[in-house]
Structures are given as C-alpha cells and as structure tokens.
C-alpha cells in the first residue's frame, strides 16, 4: 500500500515530441490538478527526431507522484517518463547566475566564497560581480544565501536537469531497446 501522508520530492525526466503546445500540456496538467512544480527545464535534445527533454522537480505524496507520472505518460506527445529519484543512481545539476553589488571587505569575501564554490566570474565592475555557479540545488542555494549576506544580489537559476548514471546513453535508445 502506498503511504499518503509523507511528501516527497522527485525529479522526473520526460522525453517528448518537440511540437507546439507540448510544454503547455505538461504545465497545464500540473496547474489544472493542483500539483506543484518546483522547477522545470526544457530544450530540444534530438534535432532529427524532434524530441525534447523536460526535467522537472515536483513534490507530493507517493500517491500524487504516481498520479503525476501516469498522467504525464498518457499525454500523446510524451514518449518516456522516468523518475530519477526512484530509479538507479542519477546526477542532477543546476546552474545559477548571481550578480552581487557590494564594496570593501565584503567584495573581497564574495570573491573568496565564489572561489571556494568554484564559481566563475563572468562580469565585473568596480562594485559588482556576476558569478556562474553549478552544482546540485542545495549547493546553489547555499552559495546564493552566502552572497545575500554579502551585498545586494540578483539571481537567475536554470532549474534542475538530470540523468541516470551508468552506460545507458539515452532514454530514447532504452525505449527502443525494450520495444
């Protein structure tokens, strides 16, 4: 039996046909049924097959997560729904651009923190930096929190993208192999 009380956070990888309206279909499913989207990224991954991969992070009870997966899977343009969180080990990464405006010792400290997070400096003026940081969401969030304590910041985050570890190279190929 499924547990209905605990909320879980899941990262889903969804391979879809890159056709008009497909993103609206996915998002509409979440908003129409009152589910959460914590982050969502999408881009075409196969130009010949015209497929895109949507990586999305959602949270809900196990019953809701199962619903979300089944509802996604029954959309016509959706080929594969993979739950990275319950699947074999996976990696997920997020990229953030953080602009910080500050001066004096805080400016030095910001640069030092950026270095320890292996953030790259993309832009610099006499009283500002733009850092690029990548990592899992908690690392990115930690970096942003530190920056916020060192000055005024502006943030752009990509949201999570992820895939399974190991030697299977693409959901599409896996799908064809089992077909």
């Amino acid at each position: 039996m499924l547990d209905t009380t605990q909320t879980e956070r899941h990262t889903l990888s969804v391979l879809v046909d890159n056709e008009p309206g497909v993103l609206a279909r996915v998002i509409g499913l979440f908003s129409g049924r009152g589910y959460n989207i914590e982050s969502l990224t999408v881009s075409e991954v196969d130009e010949q097959r015209h497929t895109s991969r949507i990586s999305l992070v959602t949270s809900g009870t196990p019953m809701v997560i199962e619903q979300i997966k089944q509802l996604l899977a029954r959309l016509v343009p959706v080929h594969v729904v993979e739950d990275l969180t319950i699947g074999p080990a996976h990696v997920e990464r997020e990229l953030a651009l953080v602009k910080i405006v500050n001066s004096g010792s805080e400016r030095v400290e910001a640069l030092r923190v950026a270095d320890s997070f292996r953030a790259r400096t993309l832009d610099s003026t006499l009283n500002s930096f733009i850092f690029e940081v990548t990592g899992n969401s908690s690392k990115v969030s930690a970096f942003i929190r530190l920056m916020q304590s060192l000055g005024s910041v502006e943030i752009a985050r990509t949201g999570v993208c992820g895939m399974t570890r190991g030697n299977t190279i693409d959901l599409a190929d896996k799908d064809e192999a089992t077909g």
């Binding site: 499924l2 046909d17 089944q70 899977a73 959706v78 080929h79 993979e82 064809e176 089992t178």
Partner: protein, 619 residues
C-alpha cells in the same frame, strides 16, 4: 502484492514501445505517391477512409471551404444542429449508441467556445469524438481577428488531445492520428483546429493513409500483465464476501465486454453492481444484479460494497458519487482495479492490485486464469453472503406508493419501462432527479442503450444526444427522459428534430422545479428554495405544435398509460408533458459527506438527518 510491484515503471516506458520519431515531414515514399489536393477535400477523403458517415455541425465563415466540400460529397451526411454544444452531445449520442467515433464540425471563435461544454462532457465520460474547428487564416492568428479564439489553448484541458494544423504537410497525418487517439485506450474527444488557409491550400494526400503503416506514437496498453491476472485470481479464490463493481469501461470496450462479464458473473455466482455509466452491462433482471450503486444507488448495492471483503472493479473510477465519504468507503475489502487508464488506478482509492488493460482482454484473461487455477467460489461463504444481501434487498429501497391521482415520477418511469419493453429502445436523459429515477426504475438488458451525462452532469445533454442516437439508429425508438428545466437548456434542437423528421420521444417529468437543486436546498439549506423554481414554462403541447410535432400531457395517474402508449405509437416526434408530484425527492440517498452505510431511505429519515458542515461543502 503492492501496487508498486505490478504497475512498475516499465509500464510507463512500454507505453510507446514502438519506435519513436513520428517524422515531421513526409517521407520519401509518401512524397512519391502523394497528390496535391485542397485541404478541405483532403479532410473529407480522410473522414471517409475513417468510416465516418455522419457529421454534426454548424457552419460559419472559418469553415466554409469544408462546407463547400460537404455540398459536393455524397458519402458523408451533415446534420445541422442549432447550437454547437448540441453538435457535440449529438455526436456523443451517436458514439455511445454505436461504439463509433462521433464527428463534429464547428466554426472558429464562438463555434469553438460553444463546443467546450460538449467536449468536457465527452472527456469526463470517455466518449470518442473528433471535433473539427475552423480557425482564422494562419497569418491572422494572434491578431484578435474577427471570430478568432485560442481554440487549442481553450480546449487543451478539456480534450484528450488537440491539434492546430499550421502546415498543410501535417494535415493528413494529424487527422488520422486524431481518430486513433479518440478511439484508442480510454476514449475521449480530440480537437483539430484548421486555419482557413490550410483548408484552401493544396496539401499532400496519400491514398490509403500516411499514418497507419508507421509505428504509432500513442499505444496504450490493452492486454493485461499476466502476473497481475494470476495474482487477481489468487485473491478471488480467497474471497468470502465478494462483489463485482463495473463501470463505463465495460461499455466503451464493446458489447463483448458485457458478454464476458455475464459469463464471469455466472461462473462465480458473485453479486454485481454497476455505476450510472455501466448500466446495461448486466441485464437488469439478472438475479446477481444489485442495481446501481452510489449516491442514489440501491441499499443492497451500497451495503454490499460497504461490507464486502473483496471488490473487483472493472472499468469504473471510484467517482465521488459512488464512493461517498472516502475514509469510510468499503473499509474491510481487498480491492482489485482493472482499468485501461493507468492514471485512474490509485487516483482516489488505494487498491491492493491494479491491472492495466481493456475490459474485454482483462475479463477474458481472468476467465482463462480461473480455469488454470481451478477457481471455485467459496460456496458456503457465498451462500451466507447472499443471505445477507437478500436481507438488504428485503428493505425494498425503491418501493414507492402511487396513491391518488397525482403522478409519482417513479410510477411514470416504471410504466414507461413496462409499456416500451420489447422495442428496439434507446434512452437518453438530461441531468437531475429524472435522470436518477430513470437509472433506478428503467431496466436495461443490453449495453449501448443508455446515454446519460455522468461525469460532467450536463443539463441539456439528453435532447441533442437523442438526435445523434436517432440518426445512428433510424428505426429504433429513442426516448429522452427529461426534466422541464434541463429540456429548456437545449430545446432549440426541436428545430433539428423537425428538420430531419426524427421520431424522438421527449418524456418530460415536469415538477416545475429544478428538482435536484430543490432537494439539496431542502436537505442542506433549510428549505430556502433560492431560484430553483421553473417559472414561465412554455405550454409544451403548443410548443410541440409550433414545430409540427405531437404534444401530449398526462395530469393524472389514470392518464399515464394512455399517454405513453400514444407516444410510442406515434410515428413522428412527440413531446409528452408528464405533470408529476412537485415535491417528490430522489431516494435512497447517501447525503454528501456520508458513507455507504449511512443511506437515507425515505423522506421520513430525511427529516431527522443532519448533514455535517464538511458534507455541505461537497457538491
């Protein structure tokens, strides 16, 4: 035995086990054999190839090229309705009574938005519909052009799938796929939005289809997992107080599903109950049939659901009208749920075993596996269970007394049932008390004979649905059991009925109230009957007269048989105004927020019942 082991991730992956990549452009071989013809002509050719013989529609500026082709076509008949919502309901009646895809054609803007209620109705009740909508020319899309609406945006949440065809090269593939999507898996409505330029410009057409020879990208599972079937039969063998709970999936799966279900019932000797959408799957007079379950279901059906230790759900979706209060729903049973839609399993009720598959395939596999496992019902336990069920039956929850000359609605429906027996008969209904009385007192012995709006509860469904049903079954007797308030919602279709001389019989249970609203106001809102009175009703006999139909009226119980017989024996359309007891309520009833074992059986119980505050917020 947990859900997780059976509905594993592989099921999701295997959805499209065929090769990916529906090519966006025509392949070399397609181009070689393609001829260029105008889009509208192509559309008609593809419709014909899909077996379409009737379209329900209403013209307008953005679909004139298609209407021009219809003018030239001899193969496809167009039925002109009087409102686009009615076009979809008519197509639903056509689809539900034949098992075929119903086709709708409407114009852009208001044509499309008027169709939305019908599309939502078809989505909720899983009816296969292809709805063609006109659209302003491609280059005007997004400019707020005359009669422009974002049809694909508006209909996205109320269709199974939709298309906006911007490229003529995609036209044939999109139409063919639309039919496949509408009729496969859990059926539903599909919209194809066709800009006017796409209808007029030449598009590549390939005789024999471009889509059928390719691996399909939408391939829902129909054959159930063998391990799940084995597990299900094991569970069935342990059952002491079983019940089979069947739904609309049995109808959608085709008449064979009902035949197999009857075999399953015979072989197990188990009690069976059906949802509103499933009525007809088991003959009403089968001794194993407990009647409909749910809010206005029978006492025996609901108590059997409450007390069972094993529930076999075949193609039903645990709708809130069926389950009552969820945390008290069938608390002590092992539940097996077979459904073609994986998303319906474990949506609201957690089950012990989910089986994804078509009802025909599932029941056939169950019967075979029962033989393989030497299934025998637990006779002793079953006899005790039936003894209990028969005690519940003795309550005679549907009993009523026709005293005096004021017509009881139950009596009217029961007489209609008795006097129309033996006919080739189809019943449609509107929504409300009359719908529930029809479900309770009219017996069905075959599937596809009962057309009603279940999920969406659309008042005004029954009259246009009767139009579509009569078009599909011209020689049959089609009766719309109606209420006066619902009837008024789509009564413009009287004009359609008159135009095509459809012998539809409209049987109005007229209590001069929106009866179900009134009943809920009585129960939940201190009998403050806010705006639920049907004022300024037309004289239905004169109304019939203006459309050249026969109008009849029954005012006393003595009239009723004569009126029904006269109605049935009239060749053309009839409006029968049945003046019924005004304040009769629909019983039995599970008040909202209550459980199956907390049913009200009569008005006497109603006066002492209190509905909880939690119950009152439920619809």
């Amino acid at each position: 035995m947990s859900f997780g082991t059976v509905m594993k991730k592989n099921d999701i992956k295997s959805k499209n086990s065929g090769k990916i990549s529906p090519a966006k452009t025509a392949s070399a071989t397609e181009r070689a054999s393609a001829v260029m013809i105008p889009g509208a002509e192509l559309l008609l050719k593809v419709l014909e190839a899909e077996g379409v013989d009737v379209i329900f529609g209403y013209p307008g500026g953005a679909v004139l090229p298609i209407y021009d082709e219809i003018f030239k076509s001899n193969a496809i008949r167009h039925i002109l309705v009087r409102h686009e919502q009615a076009a979809v309901h008519a197509a639903e009646g056509y689809a539900r009574s034949t098992g075929k895809v119903g086709v709708v054609l409407v114009t852009s803007g208001p044509g499309a938005t008027n169709a939305v209620t019908g599309l939502t109705d078809a989505l909720m009740d899983s009816v296969p519909i292809v709805c063609l909508t006109g659209q302003v020319p491609s280059h005007l899309i997004g400019t707020d052009a005359f009669q422009e609406a974002d049809t694909s945006g508006i209909t996205r949440p109320c269709t199974k799938h939709n298309y906006l065809v911007k490229n003529s090269a995609d036209l044939q593939r999109n139409i063919e796929e639309a039919f496949h999507v509408a009729r496969s898996g859990r059926p539903g409505p599909v919209v194809i939005d066709l800009p006017k330029d796409v209808q007029m410009l030449d598009a590549p057409y390939v005789e024999g289809g471009v889509w059928t020879d390719r691996p399909h990208r939408y391939q829902p599972r129909t054959v159930p997992d063998r391990a799940a079937i084995k597990q299900a039969v094991k569970m069935m063998k342990a059952a002491k107080r079983p019940v089979i709970y069947g739904g609309g999936g049995l109808i959608n799966s085709g008449p064979e599903a009902s035949a197999l279900l009857n075999q399953l019932v015979k072989e197990t000797g188990w009690p069976v109950t059906l949802t509103l959408m499933g009525l007809g799957s088991v003959p009403a007079d089968d001794p194993h049939f407990l009647g409909m379950l749910g809010m206005h279901g029978t006492y025996e059906a609901n108590l059997t659901m409450h007390g069972c230790d094993f529930m076999l759900n075949l193609g039903a979706r645990f709708d809130d009208r069926v389950t009552g209060r969820l945390n008290a729903f069938s608390p002590n049973s092992v539940k097996v749920h077979a459904d073609i839609d994986p998303a319906s399993i474990n949506k609201v009720v957690k089950v012990n075993l989910g089986i994804v598959g078509d009802a025909v395939e599932v029941i056939r596999a169950l019967l075979a596996e029962m033989r393989a496992q030497n299934f025998a019902a637990n006779e002793k336990a079953l006899a005790g269970w039936w003894q209990q069920i028969n005690k519940w039956r003795e309550k005679k929850c549907l009993a009523y007394q026709q005293k005096g000359q004021i017509i009881k609605p139950q009596y009217a429906v029961e007489r209609l049932y008795q006097l129309s027996r033996g006919r080739d008969l189809f019943i449609t209904t509107e929504v409300g008390q009359h719908q529930m009385w029809a479900a309770q007192y009219f017996g069905f012995d075959r599937p596809n004979r009962w057309m009603t709006s279940g999920g969406l509860g659309t008042m005004g469904y029954g009259l246009p649905a009767a139009v579509g049903t009569q078009i599909a079954n011209p020689k049959a007797t089609v009766i719309d059991i109606s209420g006066e308030a619902s009837f008024l919602m789509n009564m413009q279709e009287l004009s359609t009925i008159a135009q095509y001389s459809l012998p539809v019989k409209i049987f109005i249970l007229n209590n001069e109230w929106m009866g179900m609203v009134r009943q809920w106001q009585e129960l939940n809102h201190g009998s403050r009957y806010s705006e639920s009175y049907s004022a300024s009703l037309p004289d239905f006999i004169k109304l019939a007269d203006t459309f050249g139909m026969t109008g009849l009226r029954a005012e006393t119980a003595n009239d009723i048989d004569d009126v029904i017989i006269q109605m049935l024996e009239t060749d053309g359309p009839v409006i029968a105004d049945i003046c019924i007891e005004k304040e009769e309520n629909c019983f039995p009833m599970i008040p909202s927020g209550s459980a199956h074992n907390e049913m009200l059986l009569s008005a006497a119980e109603e006066s002492t019942a209190t509905v909880s505050e939690e119950g009152k917020i439920l619809v």
